[in-house]
Symmetry: C2
Subunit: 217 residues, 2 copies
């Protein structure tokens, strides 16, 4: 299993960030505020645009060493040399992603239920998956096709059985960050808690502070 710092996982939203330039700016500010890993996710975009934006993000993130994860598109990740890919239950199988990306790539997988989680253990054992995104914890507007929310108790139940590190996702914000740390999250995945915020750097710092407070309780 490749080790990765999941503490504050930013999922960039092209609309909330206001396009490519805004995505790069948001990512850089968030990293200055403590964000540890960045995902490029733009389900409505064609791949040429994704690749261009991804290359700009890679360049911007290189000095800090922050890994860039591409949502869904293994081919875009390979073409631009991103550090990893995140796949969902309807995307390519994690085993296929691993075979194409090689052993050093970071591969994440989305899990929304106990049944899906149970099927993950062998994927982690065989080295296909490095981390999980467990959610949505709460209902979110930034992913209209998401599964039904788990709630905090439902998240804690899944997190207790996680076979590898996992981030909590779905309406995560500074107000619930500490409770998620207490519920077993290894990190927070956020969209609107950073994207579109007036000060993404301060927003990131606040999230991280709240999460760490929850860990130390």
């Amino acid at each position: 299993m490749n080790s990765v710092n999941l503490e504050l996982y930013l999922v960039l939203d092209p609309v909330l960030c206001g396009g490519e330039d805004g995505m790069v700016r948001t990512a850089l500010e968030a990293v200055r505020g403590g964000c540890t890993i960045v995902q490029l996710r733009a389900p409505g975009w064609k791949k040429r645009r994704l690749a261009e934006c991804g290359r700009a993000l890679l360049k911007a993130l290189a000095p800090s060493g922050t890994p860039l994860i591409v949502d869904d598109h293994v081919d875009v990740a390979l073409a631009i040399g991103a550090q990893g890919v995140h796949v969902g239950q309807q995307d390519l199988q994690p085993q296929d992603a691993r075979r194409l990306m090689g052993p050093r790539a970071i591969i994440g997988y989305s899990v929304s239920s106990g049944r899906e989680l149970a099927l993950c253990a062998p994927l982690v054992q065989e080295g296909a998956v490095d981390y999980l995104g467990i959610g949505p914890v709460w209902a979110t507007a930034t992913k209209p096709d998401a599964a039904s929310p788990l709630g905090l108790a439902g998240f804690a139940e899944l997190a207790a059985r996680r076979p590898c590190p996992a981030v909590a996702i779905g309406a995560v914000n500074a107000g619930n960050a500490a409770s998620l740390a207490g519920a077993g999250a290894d990190g927070l995945a956020v969209v609107s808690a950073i994207c579109g915020q007036p000060d993404p750097r301060a927003a990131a710092a606040l999230l991280l502070h709240a999460f760490r407070q929850g860990l130390s309780r």
Copy 2:
């Protein structure tokens, strides 16, 4: 440049074919009627479904040696071991597709204007592109986001300058097949002229017959 028989290029439409099973049946019947190459194109599908359908098509097409081309998704093509990929102007760059797919893969590229065609010659020279899809020749319902139609004269103008073999696409049918052969097409790319037809095998044979008549004039 990898050599490929483009004479009758079937682009499978999941709706017209009635889902996965219908796509496999349509492809097999079309091949029996003379179809030389098959493309899997389902823009609304997620990749796990695409990969599953693609694997079923590969298995069905293997005995005849008919190549399977995946539209847009280089990662799906790689994951399932398809013979090639077709990219459009907004998809991954053909050079990226070539780098990821290797020298033996069949790589096609869509061209809709003289400007786009002019930019293709170096791509062909450097070995990134094996064939072109030139169109739409006429307006078509099966690709709502297509560029404006070229018309037969416009197609002929582009085909005369093609730096590699090219198929005509866009409302191609048995009635206009001969004229496209006369206008310089190396093959016909069809969707609704085969998909959803009561007898896809007979439809393919009719298209091929008309195209060859046009060539021999």
